[in-house]
Symmetry: C2
Subunit: 160 residues, 2 copies
Amino acid sequence: MNKQQGSKNLLTEPFIKFFRGKNFAFLGTVNKDGSPQVTPTWIDIVEKEKEKEGEDHEQIILINTAKDRIKQKNVSKNPRVSISIVDEDNPYSMITVKGRVIEQTTKGADEHIDKLAKRYLNADKYPAHSPDVKRIILKIKPEKIFYIPPRYTEYLQKNK
Amino acid sequence: MNKQQGSKNLLTEPFIKFFRGKNFAFLGTVNKDGSPQVTPTWIDIVEKEKEKEGEDHEQIILINTAKDRIKQKNVSKNPRVSISIVDEDNPYSMITVKGRVIEQTTKGADEHIDKLAKRYLNADKYPAHSPDVKRIILKIKPEKIFYIPPRYTEYLQKNK
């Protein structure tokens, strides 16, 4: 199996497609009792603004959740996350990103969930806005990437 | 949001479809450094044989992995797992099962991966058998189920 590990530019091929399609990310966090938690979620990635001229660009993964959801509470205690995404065109191609929540912000979070709803649902606005739900963006710094290129293509073709 | 929690019969509707389709399960475990790990995997479910007459049937989730894979090493240290599956017909319908690996066995594991390859790939045999890989079935006892019925159907219809 051809695997690639280490730090990569997630905004280039073959990685970028995992963050631009309609496929869900499965976010792993750790509960306060030490058990694991996995939640399907929409996902986004952006280039972080450079703080100084000449600095390398840095990519930040964004997950839009709500205050007091299990994953938000978990990452507030233990910021380490694992994100698994399979390719919608070939689910045997996959990426896993280990990373860390470096910031949580409510700023722009309502607009950001609208943007994700457009991409994932083709909805003009996120259909589940509620005054009782305070949306929060989790900003995740990728630390380790594990990628598997497409496999079993001949079987998937045959089963179409 | 209509949520159902608690212990349920996973071999009945609406739960059974998550374990019989081609959708992957995303298995969450905890690494030895306390960080989370998520891996996409094939999944199966069986009825455990009754040990005594009159006993309730018990369902066991089966995940077929290989010796020394990260998930196998993780559950050998910390048997708690979280399994997340989205419905292939409506990814906004999902099930999360919290559970515990109660047994690991190599017995029947090669035949079992062939059975899964038939279901997922329509292959006569698992295409990646290797003498260097010792397959192992993880037997998981479900402890807590969280289910979300289909949502956003109108958007999914419109985008077809």
